[in-house]
Amino acid sequence: MKKTATALALGALFLAPALAQLDAAKSSVVAVSKQMGVPVDGKFKRFTAQVSFDPARPAEGKASVEIDIASFDLGAEDFNRETVKPEWFNAAKFPKATFVTSAIKPAGAGKFEAAGKLTIKGITRDVVAPVSFKVEAGQQVFEGVLPIKRLQFNIGEGEWKDTSTVADDVQIRFRIVTAKK
């Protein structure tokens, strides 16, 4: 009896999809904000992700993404110097932003909804990210756009709360490509 249980447990361990690491070169996380109506792309240059996903069994899938806030690059040095400051990301105090899934469910062919907890600047919110899934050359590709409100995460304090200059709506565009096993 005990043997069977052990065998089952081992079997389950063996069958459970392993956590895939990230192919960083092919992956990207970009925050698109609007200032005075002008779309501005900011790229997070460093982040890690662990993904375990089988499209046939999405409910068992899980993913976590950890972003190095100080790697945010708006493409202009003077902007980059500002965004790490306390009014924006406060990178010294909150160096990481994370997204951890709590439930993944199918949403049509090749599409899923990943509900989870998004933490930025120490504030955690429940979000649902629409994700499209495909396999390219043996690598799993997850893509989507997650709309958030920057003020819900206290991003842009003081005079920057003014949404007529920098809009409240921010899109997080992600492309997560898992490394080949």
Partner: protein
């Protein structure tokens, strides 16, 4: 026999002063804004500066088109060198009211910031983001602007000289209130 007053039409006068007014806003704004610390105010001023620039460009196109159909009044009696200098200055100013906004737009593109006119109408980015090109175009934008400023000073000084020293009708053609023949 009295010669008819040959002047600029109302459209030409309106376009001249409108463009002049906008340039007198955009130029000091441009000099001032890039010294400001990073703030919402700075971002707003940058956008206003760009919107004024786009407006100048559009008015300049209209002005050049109008000028092609409505030649400028012939120069008043003056020495040849003055006539040549006047024609050259005017032509250069026409070139600059088009080139200055274009250089600003390209500079903005190369720096990776799209120009969105009035916050609503996105202008295409003709250049891909390129830091070195952006810095180079910043210099171009500055040189064109300071050239324009020097020409505007020459232009104003010459107009005043015509009014005060020569006491002729040159300034009155662009400021009908000062027209000595009326």
């Amino acid at each position: 026999m009295t010669l008819p007053t040959i002047g600029y039409g109302r459209t030409a006068i309106a376009l001249h002063w409108l463009i002049a007014l906008l340039i007198f806003c955009a130029f000091p704004l441009g000099v001032y804004m890039h010294e400001l610390p990073f703030s919402p105010g700075r971002l707003k001023l940058y956008s206003y500066h760009k919107w004024i620039g786009v407006t100048v460009f559009l008015l300049a196109i209209a002005r050049v088109a109008w000028r092609i159909g409505h030649p400028a009044p012939p120069p008043a009696g003056m020495p040849a060198w003055q006539r040549i200098a006047s024609v050259a200055t005017h032509h250069l100013l026409y070139v600059l009211i088009l080139a200055v906004p274009v250089s600003g737009w390209l500079m903005s593109s190369a720096k990776g910031f799209q120009t969105v006119y009035l916050g609503m109408i996105p202008l295409p980015d003709l250049l891909a983001k390129d830091k070195e090109l952006g810095d180079m175009l910043t210099t171009v934008h500055q040189i064109l602007n300071f050239t324009m400023a020097a020409l505007v000073i020459t232009h104003v000084a010459a107009a005043l000289k015509h009014y005060v020293v020569d006491r002729d009708e040159v300034l009155g053609r662009m400021i009908p209130l000062l027209d000595r023949k009326k």
